[in-house]
């Protein structure tokens, strides 16, 4: 088993699973939250663009300083939450050249957006003026503070929308791609693992039955295998997904019903070769019931093979889920990598040139598939040392 610790895929899978379990904690708020303007680039890209930023003011921190080294942000908004309304207090904005503005009185639940005409008017701008440009006239130190008379318990969020946000940018609705990416791991892992688990169980049962019982049972099962193997999978999956519903568990069941054939064949062949082995015949000779032989001898012998074929089957299930989601045949409320690619294609990632919407989910799927392929290869080699290969020098 030590060799497993030397496989890159093992550590990679471990990291992916940990990320799926605890990754949500890296982000504040759910992945559906709109955090910045649509199609924001990743932070590390195009540094001339202003990043999206937030200033939070409250009772404990009534003032905040901001060093601004870019042009004016794409958008500007102030949001006030909590606390009683206190019209005597307001948010003051001081620019590096010493001008100051009254952004908004502290009214509970007030939201002020740079595009509002009333806000522009309160700043003394014409209706077609650019509030963000007026508030950000130069590079330098800005200051936002809560001033005025009286107490106030609440929070002020001043958000400057930039063209850059987060590790991986945002999508067409301004959601954080990094958060969506982490949320999408779950679906791929769940579908990949459970669909193959069920499929392998089905395949093992039918393969054992066909191999051990033989006769018409074998004939019927193997004809079924031939039939299912000859029909193209995707159209059938499409029809069933549309017919039966788009839920995650329906999808897992549909996928497993159409992918048990491989393991059934393997297990049948293995059972056939074992069935005639001497010790099995001896067992039968002393009157051991079929069920006992199947359970206690044939199944344990076939288990390692099953494990390997299962691991190698996971990529197929992951890809099938991705196909269906990409075609829009998955639950739109469930975030998955295929869904992310579907939205990238449907909502103009191309015209926006937002390649960062494309690469993370696509590479995520590919990486997960490669990880399982490598693990499967490792398991196969453990079962059959001949596969370890070796070529003439």
């Amino acid at each position: 088993m030590k060799a497993l610790l030397n496989r890159w895929s093992f550590w990679c899978l471990l990291a992916i699973i940990l990320l799926a379990l605890f990754g949500a904690g890296l982000f504040d708020g759910p992945p559906e939250r709109e955090v910045a303007s649509a199609f924001s680039k990743p932070l590390w890209l195009d540094r001339t663009l202003p990043p999206g930023m937030e200033l939070r003011l409250g009772q404990s921190a009534p003032a905040a300083e901001l060093d601004w080294n870019h042009g004016a942000p794409a958008g500007f908004s102030v949001k006030i939450s909590g606390g009683e309304s206190n019209p005597d207090r307001y948010v003051r904005w001081t620019t590096p050249d010493g001008k100051s503005f009254n952004l908004s009185p502290l009214r509970r639940g007030a939201e002020v957006d740079g595009r509002d005409i009333s806000f522009k008017r309160s700043l003394g701008l014409p209706p077609f003026g650019d509030a963000a440009a007026a508030l950000f006239p130069a590079k330098g130190a800005y200051r936002a503070e809560i001033t005025g008379e009286g107490d106030w318990e609440g929070e002020v969020v001043i958000r400057m929308e930039g063209g850059r946000w987060g590790l991986l940018g945002t999508d067409q609705r301004g959601r954080d791609i990094a958060a969506l990416f982490v949320a999408g791991i779950r679906v791929s892992l769940l579908v990949g693992i459970f669909a193959t688990l069920i499929a392998t169980f089905l395949g093992a049962t039918l393969g054992l039955a066909a191999g051990y019982l033989g006769g018409w049972v074998d004939a019927v099962i193997m004809r079924g295998v031939d039939l299912l193997l000859s029909i193209p999978l995707l159209p059938i999956l499409m029809a069933l997904a549309a017919l039966w519903g788009k839920g995650l568990w329906q999808l897992i069941l549909i996928l497993s019903v159409f992918s048990w054939m491989g393991s059934a064949r393997t297990i049948r062949a293995l059972t056939l070769s074992l069935r005639d082995a001497q010790y099995i015949e001896d067992l039968r000779g002393i009157g051991a019931p079929s069920g006992y032989i199947l359970r206690r001898h044939l199944l344990p012998e076939t288990l390692p093979v099953l494990l390997a074929s299962m691991t190698l089957g996971v990529p197929g299930a992951i890809l099938s889920e991705a196909w269906l989601s990409f075609l829009g045949l998955s639950d739109p409320r469930v975030i998955s990598w295929g869904r992310m690619l579907h939205e990238a294609q449907s909502f103009g990632a191309f015209t926006a040139g937002a390649w960062w919407m494309l690469l993370p989910p696509g590479l995520g799927i590919a990486l997960l598939c490669l990880v399982f392929l490598d693990l499967g290869k490792y398991l196969e080699e453990r079962i059959d040392p001949r596969l370890r290969g070796g070529t003439a020098p």
Partner: protein, 264 residues
């Protein structure tokens, strides 16, 4: 004359984790084969006899180390390139493989194999080849019309005879026979051995027979070599070897042979 001088062969294999596995299959073997005589090289399986045979036409797996010399009428085959070897293979020395071997390309007729060799080595057009195929087949003791059959349509004995016909196609000086009678019934075995013997006696071929069957080898060969664990442990006329074996291994083998003869 084929002379093998101090031949040592080491098989090499790389494992997937980059180690090299080495196995010395033949150690310092010297023997010779002259035209018009019947030689036999006997030994149990794994003794290295097939490796010696395959080394002659340069058919050892890629990466195998072979030291020593293999001379064909004085020219060293071991140092030859593939193109030079191709001029010698089949025209000078032909191979008769084991009958159980999958020795014919399954999707081509047996006759097509002969035809190809005739056209490649002798430049014979298809029309002329047909007549020659018929005579080759009758020389090997087969009906000519079997040439139109596919390998899987022939019985084991027929396939073996077809292999002999194929080996004779370019009139070689030497025949290298690798267990040509294994997996055949006794009567067919005898027939094939008789055919080979006739070829040596009538056509003056030099023949090297590889066999694990010592009685058979001793009964037909004029000179017998015995190998054990990659080394040549005994050589001489079969009569002498049977009468006074030098090596303990041969003694045991001959002892078993004598027991058999006394029983019968």
């Amino acid at each position: 004359m084929i002379e093998i001088k101090n031949l040592s062969v080491t098989y090499r294999r790389m494992t997937s984790d980059g180690r090299e596995l080495r196995a010395e299959a033949v150690k310092n073997v010297s023997l010779s084969v002259e035209k018009g005589r019947f030689y036999a090289l006997a030994g149990e399986s794994g003794s290295g006899k097939t490796t010696v045979l395959m080394a002659i036409p340069g058919l050892l797996p890629r990466g195998t180390e072979a030291e020593g010399r293999i001379l064909l009428e004085g020219a060293d085959l071991l140092s030859m390139k593939e193109e030079e070897l191709n001029k010698i293979r089949w025209r000078r020395a032909a191979l008769v493989p084991q009958g159980a071997m999958n020795s014919f390309t399954p999707v081509l007729t047996v006759g097509r194999h002969v035809e190809e060799v005739l056209s490649v080595h002798l430049g014979l057009p298809k029309k002329e080849a047909e007549g020659r195929i018929a005579s080759l087949f009758s020389m090997a003791g087969l009906e000519g019309e079997l040439a139109r059959r596919y390998p899987h349509e022939l019985s084991g004995g027929q396939k073996q005879r077809a292999a002999i016909a194929l080996a004779l196609a370019c009139d070689p000086d030497y025949l290298l026979c690798d267990e040509p009678t294994t997996a055949l019934d006794v009567i067919t075995q005898q027939g094939i051995i008789n055919t080979l013997k006739k070829l040596v006696d009538e056509k003056g071929l030099g023949l090297l027979l590889i066999s694990h069957d010592l009685p058979l080898a001793a009964s037909v060969a004029s000179r017998l070599y015995i190998m054990k664990d990659g080394r040549l442990v005994e050589e001489g006329p079969p009569r002498e070897i049977v009468a006074s074996p030098q090596n303990p291994h041969t003694k045991a083998l001959v002892g078993a042979l004598l027991d058999l003869e006394e029983d019968s």
